[in-house]
Symmetry: C3
């Protein structure tokens, strides 16, 4: 089995706002990444300071969203640099991994 | 683009039981991690020995849950040590990654 | 706290087709991995060339699915080799991580 290197990226957002749409459109139309998957969390909290502890698992109108993609490390580097101005600091996590080639 | 090191943690649970609530409350109130996201799986199986092969994709009353968070490696280390007694062995996966700082 | 090495695997599929069922049955019955979780994405696009940009976040009948599991690196290697013929190239991402042992 043959593998090649990729960088996996997870961008942590919430459903509110247009950022997710902007990012998805850019990743698809401009950056042409191999593939993107969007996951919706069922609960969570962020740096906003909002305290949800008593109803932490209740449905919320502002659920967490994760935009995930992977591509060659160089390409990911370029993408993150291009998108730098619209990516919220502290919300883009990336690491190296392998993908099957055949 | 500036990155700093983080450790990503994924804790694999199921919806049954109070552990998820306890963990979320502790991560939020006591450990004060940057952010936590909870994902619900649509299917799965664990070490319980329960055989689901024939109906593997049917909806279940005990769906998998993943609690995910990331923070500085030292802080994550502390958190996992603090929470050690309530974390089920073999269910907490962690790895190093980078987060965007600006 | 004691950790041991694992390899995490994420297999990116869509809901269409039988591959997910075949894979889950094999992972459960034949490969006997510790545990598997299946996540459904709420949106995404892949290499198919299908353009979803205008309705990128609409519900679709062919939503993304991710099959995730982890196990000892040697065992994961074996599993991926066994399943090689049914795993779609470019859709299996893996990386090393740690799991808590106690």
């Amino acid at each position: 089995m043959k593998f090649s290197e990729v960088t996996v990226v997870r961008i942590y957002l919430t459903e509110t706002g247009e950022l997710q749409k902007t990012l998805l459109a850019k990743l698809h139309d401009e950056e042409k990444v191999r593939g993107v998957t969007v996951f919706r969390g069922v609960s969570g909290f962020g740096r906003s300071g909002k305290v949800h502890s008593s109803t932490l698992l209740d449905l919320s109108l502002d659920l967490p969203l994760v935009i995930e993609f992977f591509d060659k490390p160089d390409k990911v580097n370029h993408i993150l640099t291009h998108l730098r101005k619209i990516l919220p600091a502290g919300h883009v996590v990336s690491w190296n991994a392998h993908v099957n080639e055949d």
